[in-house]
């Protein structure tokens, strides 16, 4: 099949697609190293814009907040999502369809709807908007992704391994700790990386559930973009893209490598 020649129209479209997908970001990143402040002329290589970021207390604060929110929500979502995946795969195969609905609904619901509904919930419950509400929201939208990734990994593993452990004298807890979890680890790590990426990049939900003084990095970028277009935004965006790319690449490697084992 691979030997079959691909029609020119097909490969041409593919080139257009890839250019469309990647050129804007590549241009953006390239210009984050451009010395010239205005316009498109290349004024020479510089790391000035990145250095400037380091002297912006608001950006540094936002970065710290994004990291804290990302780590907390990743921890929570990974723990709960992994347990849910184990439950669905091992104990509740029949509940999988119903639970599957609850799991996939957040993935297909427009983020803005989820965002404003959380805003309504928090105000109804009288919870002040801030880091807590952001972490709650990020955890909520990350859980389904973790569960899906871990579930995929679980389906690739052999259930008889757990039975074998039990037949060798391991009770449920030992079996989970000594056999299930080590098998699951690559999937759990991949899920965690994806959860972190989702949280670190999220704008829409955070926009609605953040309060005064709880500005994450994407929110900071948003207010900068609304004000003006300047090379520091390019630098900040480039940083975000690089963090994401590395995280997703690692997650992809883990997920792929693990299915082979």
């Amino acid at each position: 099949m691979t030997a079959r020649r691909v029609p020119f129209a097909v490969s041409a479209t593919a080139v257009v697609t890839y250019a469309f997908l990647h050129l804007p970001l590549l241009v953006l990143i390239a210009f984050s190293f451009n010395r010239s402040r205005f316009g498109v002329q290349w004024g020479g290589f510089t790391l000035d814009w990145y250095a400037r970021l380091a002297f912006r207390p608001d950006i540094l604060r936002a970065m710290r907040l994004s990291l804290v929110v990302g780590l907390l929500s990743t921890l929570l979502a990974t723990a709960m999502g992994t347990l849910a995946a184990v439950a669905l795969a091992r104990y509740l195969p029949r509940a999988r369809r119903a639970a599957g609905g609850l799991l996939y609904l957040p993935i297909v619901t427009p983020e803005i709807v989820a965002g404003v509904s959380l805003l309504v919930l928090f105000s109804w419950m009288g919870i002040a908007l801030g880091i807590t509400t952001i972490v709650i929201a990020h955890t909520a939208f990350s859980i389904p992704f973790v569960t899906v990734v871990v579930l995929a990994r679980l389906q690739g593993t052999d259930h008889t391994l757990e039975e074998a452990a039990m037949s060798l004298g391991a009770d449920e807890l030992s079996t989970f700790r000594r056999v299930t979890l080590p098998q699951l680890m690559p999937g759990v790590l991949a899920g965690a990386l994806l959860a972190f990426t989702l949280s670190f990049d999220d704008f829409v939900t955070t926009f609605f559930v953040s309060g005064v003084g709880s500005t994450t990095l994407p929110l900071a970028v948003y207010s900068m973009v609304r004000k003006s277009v300047e090379p520091t935004i390019n630098a900040l965006s480039a940083l975000l893209v690089m963090v994401t790319t590395v995280a997703v690449y690692l997650a992809d490697r883990l997920a792929r490598g693990s299915t082979r084992a």
């Binding site: 039975e163 074998a164 039990m166 060798l168 004298g169 391991a170 009770d171 449920e172 098998q183 084992a261």
Partner: protein, 378 residues
């Protein structure tokens, strides 16, 4: 755990039933396995034999009935509370642990001292003829199928279980290795005195290895017995057909044999079917005028020229259809008067020096001694 009296069987099933949804996986299962016995559960796929093993192992809970191990009911006991060990069809070796750690798993779980674990792991590997020096540190993925099989066996045996469960343990091996492992498993059973319960769909393997076996069909036990009992006295058509090859004949019980047809003092029945009449030995299931079905093994049959039937033997007229050369034997397929095909296995005495005197289309008599048949129930 209270000491069990020596006369209690190792395993006992009393009316055990299990269903998945509305389909019964096993129905009213009752059998016992003696201590140190090599017992096989044999049957086609989906007959319930694996469910039976999983019930015994504790991976499934029975819906009805009782499972006893050495006299104690274990229905509610978790797998790790049963003092059993199991060898899985897929071997189920832990891919993230070395051979050594795989075998040590159960001992570590029992919190044995490190020194004891090391010695017993080494001994177990040697028992299954794997050199500890070579294999201890390898990962399961670096082993061949036969080696994995041995590790799985060592991992189970190292615990010195009272009962060893084997779920199609040889299914994934090639023919030569399978034969070799059959002999080794049987030898281990004798050497260690452990009760082996073995699930297989390979009738030859079950006959070769077992002290006794249960043939299962459609969630029920069709027959339990020694290999010879099962092969030579199959009680149902299913058993006769599933174990070895069998020819089936039907007819009605017409009366008691007398005069020429009877041989000596034999009491029995004359059966009349549309292929002819024949005599069968007495059997509780036969009554005057009732339907009778018998099974005759191909090697119990003989072929004669028309008019040459030995006294006292049954004979049905037939036509030779074809001959199949199988090496050790030659299968002759013949067509009876009612169109039924029968297979006769003749010993090959050398086709080059002493060819069979039969050709396609020849008329012949299919003959057997009345006692060389099995009257089937139901």
């Amino acid at each position: 755990m209270p000491a069990s009296t020596p006369e209690q069987p190792a395993v006992e099933f009393r009316g055990v039933a299990k269903r998945y949804g509305s389909t019964p996986a096993v129905r009213d299962l009752s059998f016992t396995v003696g201590r140190g016995e090599f017992f096989s559960l044999l049957g086609p796929s989906g007959c319930g034999k694996t469910t039976t093993l999983r019930l015994l192992a504790g991976f499934e809970t029975p819906d009805a009935g009782e499972i006893r191990l050495f006299g104690e009911a274990v229905n509610r006991r978790r797998p790790y509370e049963r003092d059993l060990a199991m060898v899985f069809q897929s071997y189920a070796l832990f891919p993230h642990l070395s051979v050594e750690r795989n075998v040590a798993f159960g001992l570590e779980q029992r919190k044995r001292p490190a020194r004891e674990i090391r010695d017993r792991v080494r001994a177990a590997l040697e028992l299954v003829r794997l050199d500890p020096g070579t294999f201890a540190t390898r990962r399961p993925s670096e082993l061949s199928g036969g080696q994995r099989q041995r590790v799985a066996l060592a991992r189970a045996l190292v615990l010195e279980p009272r009962v060893l469960l084997l779920d199609e343990p040889l299914g994934a091996l090639d023919l030569k290795l399978r034969k070799e492992m059959q002999v080794e498993l049987k030898a281990l059973n004798l050497q260690l005195g452990v009760t082996f319960i073995h699930v297989t769909h390979d009738q030859e393997e079950a006959l070769a290895m077992s002290d006794r076996l249960a043939v299962m069909n459609q969630a029920e036990i069709a027959q339990v017995g020694t290999p010879a009992e099962i092969y030579e006295n199959p009680r149902t058509a299913f058993v006769a057909d599933f174990i070895g090859e069998a020819n089936f004949l039907e007819g009605k019980a017409a009366g008691r044999p007398g005069g020429e047809a009877a041989r000596g003092s034999l009491e029995g029945w004359v059966i009349t079917g549309d292929a002819g009449s024949f005599v069968v030995p007495p059997h509780w299931a036969i009554s005057e005028g009732g339907d009778v079905r018998i099974a005759v093994r191909p090697e119990w049959l003989d072929l004669w020229r028309p008019g040459c039937l030995p006294r006292g033997e049954n004979g049905l007229p037939a036509t030779i259809q074809d001959l199949v050369y199988l090496g050790e034997t030659i299968h002759v397929r013949v067509t009876l008067a009612n169109g039924r095909v029968m297979i006769i296995a003749l010993r090959n005495e050398g086709q080059l020096i002493k060819p069979l005197p039969w050709n396609r289309g020849d008329s012949c008599i299919v003959a057997w001694r009345p006692e060389d048949c099995q009257v089937l129930e139901g």
